[in-house]
């Protein structure tokens, strides 16, 4: 019945498909779960492994220092954006660490400090402007309520930073990837059956019939507006 429409519609469809391929061609293919982001050149090659890595029991001069992520990335638990620590933070410790004072990276760091200029770090993790990821909520949930190790919680999205020097994006951070976690059934009580802070309490209001125990599961928010505000 709509036979006469067949060819024009097909052409339009093909054109749209082709043009969208063309528009996409300049971009990298959609990333997969374990795909890496671009290798980013930073003004100072900050060694995350040295700061956050595990201690080397045999030689304390070699391993990491197991500094909590939140010591430097202090804004993550307070704000939607994690921010970059102010230069003051770096200097706060390093002015007292004479042993590395003359290493090239530290000399470079102090040059910025003496000039009172901000280090022009490059973004490593960026999301499109129409996505609002909230660090604070994720830290509250995983670190404060579920009492998971900080490095594990941060690592869900940022990978194993303690093994990196300059951080590099490890996950795709695409919507499907976010949803893959939000759609999973997660326990609402911590491992071992301890009710997690207010979580189980509030959950019992929502689903009064269900007994809240170690088997009770819930999902992360999946309303569009949670991220697309």
């Amino acid at each position: 019945m709509y036979r006469f429409l067949r060819f024009p519609i097909l052409l339009v469809g093909l054109f749209l498909a082709a043009s969208s391929f063309a528009a996409n061609s300049s971009q990298p293919a959609l990333t997969t779960e374990d795909s890496l982001g671009p290798q980013v050149q930073q003004p100072i090659e900050f060694p995350h492994n040295r700061h956050a890595g595990l201690k080397d029991a045999s030689d304390p001069a070699k391993g990491g220092m197991e500094i909590n992520c939140q010591y430097c990335h202090t804004y993550a638990r307070r704000s939607a954006v994690a921010g970059i620590p102010p230069l003051q933070k770096c200097i706060g410790c390093h002015q007292n660490i004479e042993s590395v004072r003359n290493k090239p990276r530290i000399v470079e760091l102090f040059k910025y400090w003496d000039a009172k200029k901000a280090v022009p770090w490059k973004k490593v993790h960026d999301l499109p402007d129409f996505v609002r990821f909230n660090h604070e909520r994720h830290i509250k949930r995983f670190v404060e309520q579920q009492d998971r190790p900080v490095q594990e919680a941060c690592g869900y999205c940022h990978g194993d930073v303690k093994e990196m020097t300059v951080a590099r994006r490890q996950k795709s951070l695409a919507m499907g990837w976010c949803a893959s976690c939000h759609e999973k059934d997660h326990p609402v009580v911590a491992e071992g059956g301890t009710p997690i802070a207010g979580q189980a309490y509030w959950y019992s209001f929502q689903k009064p019939a269900a007994a809240v125990d170690a088997n009770t599961k819930a999902r992360g928010p999946n309303d569009c507006w949670q991220c697309h505000k």
């Binding site: 019945m1 709509y2 036979r3 429409l5 067949r6 519609i9 097909l10 339009v12 469809g13 093909l14 749209l16 498909a17 043009s19 969208s20 391929f21 528009a23 996409n24 971009q27 959609l30 982001g37 671009p38 290798q39 980013v40 050149q41 804004y75 307070r78 704000s79 939607a80 954006v81 994690a82 921010g83 970059i84 620590p85 102010p86 230069l87 003051q88 910025y112 400090w113 009172k116 200029k117 901000a118 280090v119 022009p120 770090w121 490059k122 973004k123 490593v124 993790h125 960026d126 999301l127 499109p128 402007d129 129409f130 994006r169 695409a174």
Partner: protein, 741 residues
């Protein structure tokens, strides 16, 4: 995306509706994917700048709020600005202020666009032929010192807008150090005739109006909800007034020749023949029959028939107004721009004040104002008289050095002044400017100012409400451009050229301000408080509230000297009155380059980004004009061309063009949009005060033959409801007063 399989399938099969939708769906998805790909992700490309040093309260992504004062007009609303990552993002009203109580008007909201405006002057500029050459501040100061050397005080002129607070003190001291008395204060739109009339009738220039206590407000062209004196404050009082005293809703009657925003809100809007506001006021006094003695004698001649004939207001309306005013007390009668803008403006205002007194409103809804106990800080006021005096001096070639600050006379001076030509006769012209506006473009040296959101200062509003207050202006963020300076800093720099010893203790204007405030700590309510604590509290609050001094209010409005002229003869060459429309967002045009203000539709016509000529539909039909016709509006002084908008809210004998647009400088958002009615204003002055009678210009209009589509928000039906009963409408003549109140 369409895979080859489905293409083959479709090609080989009859193409039904389902396939059609499928193809559409897939194509849509493909487009959506490409559109929503990670196109805005800037991994490894964009720099993320962190603080070098951060205060504890500075968290990226979390807003911090600072109090300051709105500088968009002189009403003195206190603002609260949201600052995030060191950038000011949004302004709102400060709830602690008695003036605006947490509210802010559209003009105030647009203040961020004054700050972030891309057309701000960023370097001191020295004229070199037709170009401005960037020079250093040292050179600029040296140049001023050089030009001032050997010049007597008589040969110096300083033109400024209204200034108040410590800046006014500093400016005064600088002018003293130059030995000049030629400080001309000029605000293009100011209620100066009303001030003079009020001083005569009540002993104060601007009493405190209590809309909230009034049961009836009768306003003769005072646009108190839009642009008159302190509109944000009045709007809040108006809400109280509408809510009513003892549940009785206040009634607003607006009398004017061109409907204003306030007129559009009125219960009863009366189109009065331009300039006959005073006649109507006296006619109402007569109809009230409450006057005695001299006043009764004066109004005797103003019987209804005569008043109706002269004003065009029907006798029935006069009766209704008088009945309403008698029934409801207290009331409040106001004289606004429309009443004062004539050669007999003082008489109009005096007649209106007399009506207030006859009604016994003085002391009830017209109260004594309070003022700050520091007379040197109260705002300096001025209007066209000052500009005229300066213009005369300029024309005579009297001035060797001229300064201009916070005024744009080349744009706002009536065309008949020929101000631009006269300004060129001054020897050396210095403009303190945010933008290269018309006046700055004529200057020899342009000194770039900090925006109001970057600068320090104090501001004292002219119109105080409950108690007196001094408003604090403080930077909400760092300077956007390294080479702009605060006006206070510049004045301090200049004054140090003359009185280095006296001012050497003040490193900058901030130090001066802090010192001056702390010096009067006791009087400012900080007695016994540590200096630092008091200063920090003051900055946190953004307002210093004071008991203030109350000026006593007199009620000596009298009939003496009150003579209203006979109705003006019709001018056969220029048959129409030109009413310059003052809009709530553009005012005198100093903020026209803020695109939000250009973009927000005029509340009455919904027109954006352009000027228009309001003509009554009847008059337009008579002249064969339709909406969108480009007409030439010609006065004795000049002519402009603009699009026509048919507007039932204007007297058929008048046309109106809004002021504020029609810049030929001032940057990308102002230049070339609309026309400037100031250009065609005749030099007719108010008889008693000598101010410009802004409504006295007579014009004629002629069609040019061009027609455009008027860009406006309202639909093709215009303001007409086309038979749809959206809002019930009834002509004011049909309203039965006994049912209405």
């Amino acid at each position: 995306m369409i895979d080859s399989g489905s293409v083959k399938q479709m090609a080989g099969h009859p193409f039904d509706r389902r396939d059609f939708l499928k193809v559409l769906g897939w194509s849509g998805a493909a487009v959506a994917l490409s559109g929503c790909g990670n196109t805005s992700v800037e991994d490894g490309r964009e720099t993320v700048v962190s603080y070098v040093e951060a205060n504890d309260y500075m968290v990226p992504g979390v807003g911090v709020y600072f109090n300051s004062t709105c500088a968009q007009c002189d009403a003195g609303c206190s603002i609260n600005g949201r600052v995030r990552e060191g950038r000011v993002l949004k302004l709102e009203g400060n709830p602690d202020s008695a003036i605006n109580k947490g509210r802010l008007c559209g003009l105030g909201q647009a203040g961020v666009q004054h700050h972030y405006n891309p057309d701000r002057v960023r370097e001191p500029l020295l004229r070199n032929g037709n170009k401005g050459e960037a020079i250093s501040w040292e050179k600029a100061y040296a140049l001023i010192a050089e030009k001032l050397a050997g010049v007597s005080g008589e040969e110096i002129a300083f033109l400024s807008g209204g200034v108040s607070g410590h800046l006014k003190v500093l400016l005064g001291n600088y002018l003293d150090s130059l030995g000049t008395k030629n400080h001309f204060v000029y605000e293009a739109i100011a209620p100066s005739v009303v001030r003079a009339a009020n001083l005569k009738a009540f002993g104060v220039e601007m009493p405190r109006y209590r809309f909230d206590k009034a049961q009836v407000v009768l306003s003769f062209g005072a646009d108190f909800l839009g642009s008159w004196v302190s509109p944000v404050h009045f709007s809040q009082q108006y809400a109280q007034f509408r809510k009513g005293v003892n549940g009785q809703r206040g009634v607003l009657i607006q009398v004017e020749s061109k409907m204003t925003l306030t007129g559009a809100n009125a219960d009863r809007w009366l189109a009065v023949k331009p300039g006959t506001e005073g006649v109507l006021a006296l006619g109402i006094i007569n109809a009230l029959g409450m006057a005695t003695g001299e006043v009764a004698e004066l109004v005797k001649g103003y019987d209804k028939a005569r008043v109706s004939r002269e004003t065009g207001v029907s006798t029935g309306q006069i009766d209704k107004i008088a009945a309403l005013l008698k029934l409801r007390s207290p009331s409040l009668v106001l004289a606004g721009n429309a009443a004062e803008g004539y050669a007999h403006g003082s008489q109009n205002a005096a007649a209106i004040n007399l009506l207030n007194q006859v009604l016994g409103n003085v002391g009830k809804t017209i109260e004594a104002p309070v003022s700050v106990p520091f007379p040197q800080m109260v705002p300096s006021k001025g209007n066209t008289v000052a500009l005229k005096n300066m213009n005369d001096g300029l024309a005579a070639g009297k001035y060797k050095v001229v300064f201009n600050f916070a005024a744009n006379p080349v744009f706002t001076a009536p065309g008949a002044f020929k101000f631009k030509d006269n300004f060129a006769k001054a020897g050396f012209k210095v403009a303190f400017a945010h933008y290269l506006d018309e006046t700055a473009l004529q200057a020899d040296l342009v000194l770039p100012l900090d925006s109001a959101l970057e600068d320090w200062g104090t501001q004292v509003p002219e119109y105080m409400t409950e108690g007196a207050q001094i408003n604090i202006q403080q930077p909400l963020m760092e300077r956007l451009h390294a080479n702009t300076r605060g006006m206070g800093d510049i004045l301090l720099g200049l004054i140090k050229q003359k009185k280095a010893d006296e001012y050497k203790g003040f490193e900058d204007y901030y130090a001066y301000l802090r010192g001056a405030v702390l010096q009067n700590k006791g009087a400012l309510g900080g007695g016994g408080v540590e200096d630092d604590t008091f200063w920090n509290d003051t900055l946190t609050q953004g307002i210093v509230k004071l008991a203030g001094t109350t000026t006593s209010l007199a009620a000596h409005a009298s009939a003496a000297g009150l003579v209203l002229p006979a109705a003006a003869e019709a001018d056969e060459h220029f048959p129409l009155h030109l009413i310059p429309g003052v809009t709530a967002s553009l005012r005198d045009g100093r903020h026209t380059n803020q695109p939000w203000l250009q973009e927000s539709p005029d509340p009455l016509t919904t027109i954006v980004w352009d000027s228009w000529v309001e003509i009554h539909p009847k008059k337009a039909a008579e002249l064969g004009i339709v909406e969108g016709d480009i007409v030439q509006v010609t006065s004795k002084t000049g002519s402009v061309k603009a699009q026509v908008y048919l507007f039932p809210g204007i007297h058929p004998e008048a046309i109106s063009i809004p002021v504020g647009r029609g810049h030929d400088a001032m940057g990308r958002y102002a230049k070339g949009y609309g026309v400037n009615p100031f250009q065609i204003m005749d030099a007719v002055f108010e008889a008693a005060t000598g101010e410009l009678a802004m409504h006295e210009t007579r014009v004629k209009i002629s069609k040019t033959g061009q027609r455009v589509l008027v860009v406006k928000d309202e639909g093709s039906a215009g303001a007409l409801q086309m038979g749809r009963k959206i809002a019930g409408r009834v002509s004011t003549d049909q309203v039965d007063l006994s049912k209405e109140v």
